[in-house]
C-alpha cells in the first residue's frame, strides 16, 4: 500500500483491531505462554484465568451465562457447528431446518451439507426490503422441523430481521432458534435470551477484535441445547469444540467485547449520522440512485446503494486507490453472478451489478465521508459518460425493449 491516506469503508468485511485490544493481547504471546488446558502449573492457570475473564466480558455483552459461550475459530465455524451440530444431535426429533435465501454462505453451505446428510432444508424468500415474511415462516414449520436459522443483520445490506417475532414463533412451536449474528454483535444490542434465541454465532474480527477467533452462544437452560461436536479431540469447550484455545485471540475478543459494551451506542449514533450524510449526498448529487434494503430496519453503519447504468467493479476502479469498499457486481467474484442477496430482494441483475456497499466503522471520520462523497460522485459521472446504456437512457430509449446479445 502506498503512503497516501486511505479510506476504509469495508468494515463489514472485517474491522481494524482496536489498538486497546492489541495492547490487551500482547502479553499473551510471550509473557503468558500457557495452554489454558494445562491444569497443573501456573502457566496454564494464568492462561485459563485470562480465558475465563474474556468469556465473562463476552457474556456480559450478550447478557448470558459465561458457560454458554463456546469459543471457535470464527463465525464460519460457529455457523457450521450450530447447524450440523444441531442436525446431528436432534436427529431423533426431526430433520428439517428452515433458513433464508439471503443468509451468509457459511449458513447456506452448512445447510446444503445437512441435505447431503439426509436432512431437509427450506430456503425462504425475503420481500423486496430483504425481510422475512413471518406468515411464510410459520407456514413452513412442520412436525419434523428442529431449527430455524435466520441471521440477525445481513452482511451486504445491514437489514435487520424481526428477531423478537421469530423468537416468539420458535417458542410457540418448540423449534430451536439459531441466528448468525456476526454483523450485529458489538454494533447493536444483541441479548439472545431476551429474544428467545438458542444458538448465536458471531466473531471477533467484525467488532474490532482480532481475526481467527469466534464464538457460538449455546443456551444452557430452558431449553438445555446441545450440539454434536464437529471437531473431535481433547474435549475442550464442554466437549462441543476440541482444540487448544487461542488464548491471545480470546483475550482480544474479550477486550473488544468490553469496549463494544461501553461504546457501541455512541459509535452507532455517530455512524448513522455519517452514513446518512453519505447516502443523502449521493441522492442529491446524482440521478438514478437506489438504496437497497429496508432503510427502517438496518444497521446504523451500512449503506448498500446501486448507481444505475454503472457497473460496480468499474466504478470501484475509479476510486479504489483511495477508498476501500465492496460491490455486489459479478465482476468482483469468480462466479460472474451478481450478489445472490440483492437478487433475492428482487433487484434486477443490472441493479445488482451496479451496487456498492459502504460499511463504516469506529475509525471512520467525517473527513473520510466528505472525501468519499466527492470521489464516488466523480467516479459515477465518469462511468456514466462512458456508458452506452446511460446515453440510451438519457435519449429516452426504453432499455427493456432493446434486444441485447447476452453472452
Amino acid at each position: 500500500m502506498s503512503d497516501k491516506r486511505l479510506i476504509y469503508l469495508d468494515n463489514n468485511a472485517t474491522t481494524p483491531t482496536d489498538p486497546r485490544v492489541v495492547d490487551a493481547m500482547l502479553p499473551f504471546f510471550h509473557n503468558v505462554p500457557g495452554n489454558a488446558a494445562s491444569r497443573n502449573h501456573p502457566f496454564g492457570w494464568a492462561a485459563e484465568e485470562a480465558v475465563d475473564y474474556a468469556r465473562d466480558q463476552i457474556s456480559k455483552l450478550l447478557d448470558v451465562d459465561s458457560r454458554e459461550i463456546i469459543f471457535t475459530s470464527g463465525a464460519t465455524e460457529s455457523d457450521n457447528l450450530a447447524i450440523k451440530g444441531v442436525f446431528e444431535m436432534y436427529a431423533k426429533k426431526g430433520n428439517h431446518i428452515i433458513t433464508l435465501k439471503t443468509e451468509h454462505k457459511a449458513v447456506l453451505d452448512s445447510c446444503k451439507k445437512v441435505e447431503k446428510m439426509g436432512g431437509e432444508v427450506t430456503y425462504l424468500d425475503v420481500d423486496d426490503k430483504g425481510l422475512v415474511n413471518l406468515a411464510d415462516l410459520e407456514a413452513a414449520i412442520k412436525p419434523s422441523t428442529i431449527m430455524i436459522s435466520i441471521m440477525w443483520a445481513n452482511n451486504e445490506t445491514g437489514v435487520i430481521q424481526p428477531m423478537k417475532e421469530i423468537g416468539e414463533m420458535c417458542a410457540k412451536h418448540g423449534v430451536l432458534f439459531m441466528s448468525d449474528a456476526t454483523q450485529a454483535v458489538g454494533k447493536i444490542k444483541t441479548h439472545p435470551k431476551e429474544l428467545g434465541i438458542h444458538l448465536m454465532a458471531f466473531t471477533s474480527h467484525k467488532m474490532y477484535g482480532p481475526k481467527g477467533v469466534g464464538a457460538l452462544f449455546v443456551n444452557r437452560k430452558n431449553p438445555r441445547v446441545k450440539v454434536t461436536s464437529q471437531m473431535d479431540g481433547g474435549g475442550h469447550e464442554r466437549g462441543m469444540r476440541s482444540g487448544t484455545l487461542n488464548v491471545p485471540g480470546i483475550v482480544g475478543f474479550g477486550a473488544a467485547a468490553e469496549i463494544a459494551r461501553k461504546e457501541m451506542d455512541a459509535d452507532a449514533a455517530r455512524l448513522s449520522v455519517l452514513r446518512d450524510k453519505l447516502e443523502n449526498a449521493f441522492k442529491e448529487n446524482l440521478e438514478e440512485v437506489y438504496v437497497n434494503g429496508d432503510v427502517n430496519n438496518r444497521m446504523p453503519h451500512v449503506c448498500n446503494i446501486s448507481f444505475k447504468h454503472v457497473e460496480g467493479e468499474g466504478l470501484m476502479m475509479t476510486f479504489n486507490q483511495e477508498v476501500g469498499v465492496s460491490s455486489g457486481s459479478a465482476c468482483t467474484s469468480a462466479s460472474l453472478e451478481p450478489s445472490y442477496v440483492l437478487i433475492a430482494y428482487g433487484l434486477g441483475d443490472d441493479l445488482a451489478h451496479s451496487s456498492i456497499r459502504f460499511s463504516l466503522g469506529r475509525f471512520t471520520t467525517e473527513q473520510d465521508i466528505d472525501e468519499t462523497i466527492e470521489m464516488v460522485s466523480k467516479g459515477v459521472n465518469h462511468m456514466r459518460d462512458l456508458s452506452p446504456i446511460w446515453e440510451m437512457y438519457k435519449e429516452g430509449v426504453d432499455l427493456e425493449s432493446v434486444v441485447w446479445q447476452e453472452h
Binding site: 457497473e311 457486481s329 465482476c331 452506452p388 446504456i389 446479445q405
Partner: protein, 126 residues
C-alpha cells in the same frame, strides 16, 4: 487483483470515447453484451472511401477490463482496412492488457463488437 499499467491507463484515460452518427452510411455500429450480464459494449467505426477505418469510438458499461479492452480496440482499429480489422483476435487484447483469466470474456466481447461494427457497415454498403 492487481491490473497491468496498460490496463489501468486505458481505464483512467480511455481513448476514443464517444458517439458517431449511427444513421450515417459510412458508420458501422456494434452493440454487444447485456446490462444483466454486467457489460455492454458499443463500438463504432467510420470508414473512408478507400475502405480504411478513419475513426473509431466506443462507449462501454462494464468493469475496468471491459472498458480498457474497448479503448484498446478503438486504438487498433484506426487506420486498418476492414479485412485487417476482422483479423484482430481477442487473445491479442488479452496479451496486450495482461487480462487475468476471469476477464478474458471482456476481450471476447471487444472482438464481437468489432465484428458487429464491420458487419453493420457492410450491410449498409452492400
Amino acid at each position: 487483483m492487481a491490473y497491468s499499467e496498460k490496463l489501468l491507463d486505458h481505464f483512467k484515460n480511455p481513448k476514443n470515447v464517444g458517439t458517431l452518427d449511427k444513421s450515417d452510411s459510412n458508420v458501422g455500429t456494434g452493440l454487444v453484451g447485456a446490462p444483466e450480464c454486467g457489460d455492454v459494449m458499443r463500438l463504432q467505426i467510420q470508414v473512408d472511401a478507400e475502405g480504411i477505418i478513419e475513426d473509431a469510438k466506443f462507449k462501454t458499461f462494464g468493469c475496468g477490463s471491459a472498458i480498457a479492452s474497448s479503448s484498446l480496440a478503438t486504438e487498433w482499429l484506426k487506420g486498418k482496412s476492414l479485412d485487417e480489422a476482422l483479423a484482430i483476435d481477442n487473445m491479442a487484447i488479452v496479451e496486450e492488457l495482461a487480462l487475468p483469466p476471469v476477464k478474458i470474456h471482456c476481450s471476447v466481447l471487444a472482438e464481437d463488437a468489432i465484428k458487429g461494427a464491420i458487419e453493420d457497415y457492410k450491410s449498409k454498403n452492400s
